[in-house]
Symmetry: C2
Subunit: 249 residues, 2 copies
DNA sequence: GCGACATAACTTGTATGCAAGGCATGTCGC
DNA sequence: GCGACATGCCTTGCATACAAGTTATGTCGC
């Protein structure tokens, strides 16, 4: 299901994070300690451990005596996450040595995955892959702290995009990714860094931050209708109304 | 005691992190759940929560049924942390807008703190401040995700420096900081970024990675002699043998 | 019918109890 | 004297019990 193995220890944390990055858990979704404990056949202690870790990563939050919820990033948080990604991704590419053939091939494999997901019109897989692209670039360095940072920021980016990106355009983003990949493959890291920075600007400017917190999502949240979707209603296809302006992650 | 307020929720986590950044807890120090629970007058549950969070930040680690320990970063981890800092700090400065007078003044206040600590020959405070400099630069942006990243990386850097930096030179580092500050104050962020990157290179190359894991620290660790220092033995002064080549964080 | 209040059924927060395993000490066999 | 083994104390791992608080429900008064 997941396009890539998550190198994480705790299976609960890993499963929850996978569900979020794959769009099965959306911002505002409620996470019951008891239900998770039953689902994973462990005690609440272990569930709380995993939720606490995710909380420190700003992926979930807890309201005292009320419950755990998948984070609903506000506009300020969205801006900060994008700014952080600009710094990290630009800094990484601008200071990195040109990639070797092994690393370029790994990225090329990812580009093929993106193309396949586009061809299959697999919306969930595509969202996940579009975010993964940036993680995979950093992964080629083998720098674990940096990879971790990128994973966290990407997970939060997915929440942001689920929250604010009403109509996205995966194709435009994919083309940006292709350009970044080409620069990396050509060994031109400076260009890759600049392209990456501009790409993030474009994605961010495509966000509809006017979608206020009193919109459908929060209403569903308030009405407790925000359980895990039954599946079919999130399996959207790449409809024709995705025009060329907005970008998908 | 701490040169700066840590914006952290949990007092246990905050206290432990402060003790580490101020050098009262060194790599290999043992952290007993029971003792911490008694010290903070809470149950082991809360202590384990805090330790788990610090574990996910790579500040402490647990050996099953043996105990919790302040992380002893190995050479590979040290290299990765420095490389990550290079990317993040370079990327931040290279993509940041020039600082306003408010931000420059805040940094100037920090520089004064560094000078005062040097004059007072306060080694512990100085180590803390030298790491804090880089955090404070990013703090001026108000970007919380990035600040968090820098705080984590800086905490790990302090562990690295306690582990590998046998004889440090705070003065050389301070001069580097002065140069970076001057560039920022002049609005030349590009130069500041380059200086910051070079500074990290210099600090890293000053590490004595040949101090193998079978050295004094690990021996003390093995022999369980690695309790919290009694105080006096870590209150070193800036001795004259700190020559101009190595740099303090 | 409708509003206010009591109550019951949830939620998380925290402490505690017990299980499982590591490590040092002491003891027994030789 | 010395080595192997057993024992007991220590550690963390985990589940559970209970406390505290929030929300929904039902009921009573009007």
């Amino acid at each position: 299901m997941s396009p890539r193995k998550l190198t994480m220890q705790d299976p609960i944390e890993k499963t929850l994070l996978a569900a979020i990055t794959e769009g099965r858990l959306t911002p505002g979704s409620r996470l019951s300690e008891n239900e998770l404990a039953k689902a994973f056949a462990v005690s609440r202690t272990k569930v709380r451990e995993a939720l606490t870790r995710l909380q420190s990563r700003h992926v979930v939050s807890v309201q005292p005596r009320r419950g755990w919820f998948v984070n609903i990033p506000d506009a300020a948080e969205a801006a900060e996450v994008f700014a952080a990604r600009r710094s990290v991704e630009y800094g990484f590419l601008a200071t990195a040595a040109p990639f070797g053939s092994t690393e370029v091939n790994a990225l090329a494999a990812h580009m093929a995955e993106e193309r396949r997901a586009i061809a299959q019109e697999d919306r969930a897989m595509l969202t996940c892959l579009m975010g993964d692209f940036h993680v995979r670039i950093v992964e080629q360095s083998g720098n674990r702290p940096l990879i971790e940072v990128m994973r966290n920021l990407t997970a939060r980016t997915i929440l942001i995009s689920l929250r604010y990106q009403s109509n996205r355009n995966a194709l435009a983003s994919h083309e940006d990714h292709c350009a970044i990949f080409d620069a990396i493959a050509a060994g031109d890291m400076t260009t890759a860094a600049a392209l990456s920075r501009d790409h993030l600007d474009d994605v961010e400017s495509g966000l509809r931050i006017d979608i206020g917190p009193s919109s459908l999502d929060t209403l569903r949240h308030t009405l407790r209708l925000d359980q895990v979707p039954t599946g079919a209603d999130r399996e959207g296809t790449l409809s024709n109304d995705t025009i060329l302006h907005d970008r998908d992650i």
